[in-house]
Symmetry: C2
Subunit: 335 residues, 2 copies
């Protein structure tokens, strides 16, 4: 059974391309509130997993021991654009750990923020590891290793205690019995869950009343740090920042590579997991915007409305089509 | 009925993303030689249409009247990368028409070839219209208008005689009764056909024995110019160039936006049309490579093999998965 078409792109009077995918929304009691498509097969949540991957950072006491600010906690959950607000904070944080960029296991890539990327090309500067969108997550892993006074070298190996702590937290939050993993773009393990399991874990973070005091506090701090600093979690003009600002404090959302998107709704205790079959980020953005809209979480925000229905422009700036929710996505109703 | 999965991407031991799509391969007698998925609904072929859009340029005598070289004919069929080999030739050609860049109806975008794009950023240069990947196609349209001594202004309007000549040629080659159109990224009309109709038109160009002498000569010249100049049709390191070189003169191929790919096989008189449902270029590249491989047209070429099965690397350069033909694509057999 193919998943339903969630998003379509038009050109002139025709639909030109379509994106299929699936959505699971659960509450903290584990009740499925919305299910579309296959929500049981394991999928990688990629960078949408970062808020879960940051649980040991706060839960272990490492964040407190190293005096992490909410900005730094937000960066631990971030796929950042490599703007100065990101790279400078990560560099200072690394210094405070007595470490440096060379301790990061992630590779370098150019800033995703064009003015920064272009300025670096003009100055003949090469991006370094701190520009990797995951450098905050990695610095979070290193913080836990330093707090536990164990080897920082090899912290990205699945057998390292930091990654095992991530896996344990994810298993407990998601009720997943076993977690397979793949290697993410940043060289860290990425644990696979079903959409149901992921949304369950997100819901338990969003409404952590039945969790241990430490995990509940960690969940609250991670989500409130994300919500307080939308641009640190992503970057200037990015979908996560725009949607979190439009939700005015009521939602944390996090994009992942290959068409994943996740949401945490503390006000209603919901967890959201979205996967676009073909891995298209453009369709995942439309889908999370439609879900937030259905939940009444998109206040009037022109930028957020443009993620929900996106004009397609030609190279002269004329509108020639649009990207929009398809029928299955246009009238979502939660049970 | 959903189209079959043609391409899959793995990470670790799991398939992470899949691309559905359809394929039609016809011969010049109009016989369907291979059909996968929906090959009857109209789709935009986008830049894969360029060799058809260039038919009036040669057929009308305009190319001969203005002494066009094979390099310039190849550029009329190109989605070029905006390298000096492309932009300088288009500029000289425009001059020969007594026209300039400001006569092009397409907008500007940065060179797709990173060393050129980066060098322009370093020098503080903005891309101009000649850098638009379609600037050769547009110069071809202008050449026809100059040859016919009609207004060049408005040549990109669907009602202009040049666009009507394109539509007439496409209708005749494809047997399409009516052609709807949308506006392409470059502001020119893009006429929709079914995959069957497109592949029929391509097959008739590849084996033009039943066409008028002028159209047959035009078809032969367009395809031989593309095959002779693979990098002018695309750019350094691009899939079209790599695959045409691997086919050693036996195939012309042309990518289109939103997951279209087309092929013309003069040696066997076949026309190929591919559309990936979700518009992913990466999947269209895997699919055309698999089709060429099934036709015995990919001589051993490491670069072409890497389009057929593409390692997925993380930011440290380690292989963490691969993009590859799915089952439906792995064992194609022509009737």
């Amino acid at each position: 059974m193919a998943n339903p078409v969630l998003v379509e792109l038009t050109r002139g009077s025709m639909v030109e391309s379509v994106h299929r995918g699936s959505i699971a929304i659960l509450d903290a009691d584990g009740r499925m509130r919305l299910s579309l498509g296959d929500v049981e097969s394991p999928v990688y949540s990629r960078s949408s997993l970062k808020p879960m991957q940051a649980i040991p950072l706060v839960e272990s006491g490492a964040a407190q021991a190293f005096g992490l600010s909410d900005e730094e906690v937000a960066l631990a959950c971030a796929s950042h654009s490599g703007e100065p607000m990101h790279t400078e904070r990560v560099s200072i944080w690394l210094e405070r750990l007595g470490l440096s960029e060379s301790d990061l296991a992630c590779g370098a890539h150019a800033s995703r923020y064009e003015p920064v990327a272009e300025a670096m090309v003009r100055r003949g500067e090469k991006p370094t590891r701190v520009f990797n969108n995951c450098s905050g997550k990695h610095t979070g892993f290193l913080t836990v290793a330093r707090h536990w006074d164990i080897a920082t070298n090899g912290y990205e190996q699945v057998s390292h205690p930091v990654q095992q702590a991530v896996a344990a937290a994810l298993r407990e939050l998601s009720d997943a019995k076993e977690l397979t993993y793949g290697i993410d773009g940043c060289a860290a393990p990425n644990f696979a869950t079903s959409l149901t399991q992921f949304a369950r874990a997100a819901a338990r973070m969003a409404s952590p009343i039945r969790l241990s005091a430490e995990r509940a506090a960690a969940s609250r701090r991670l989500l409130s740090a994300m919500i307080a600093h939308p641009e640190l979690v992503s970057g200037t003009g990015r979908a996560c920042a725009i949607l979190m600002r439009a939700a005015t404090g009521r939602a944390a959302v996090k994009a992942g590579a290959e068409g994943f998107f996740a949401g945490w709704i503390p006000t209603s205790g919901l967890g959201i997991a979205i996967k676009i079959d073909d891995g298209a980020g453009r369709a995942a953005e439309t889908t999370i915007a439609a879900v937030l809209d259905a939940l009444g979480l998109l206040d009037y925000s022109e930028a957020a409305r443009k993620i929900l229905r996106t004009p397609i422009l030609n190279t002269r700036g004329a509108t020639v089509g649009e990207r929009r929710p398809a029928a299955a996505l246009a009238n979502l109703k939660l049970s």
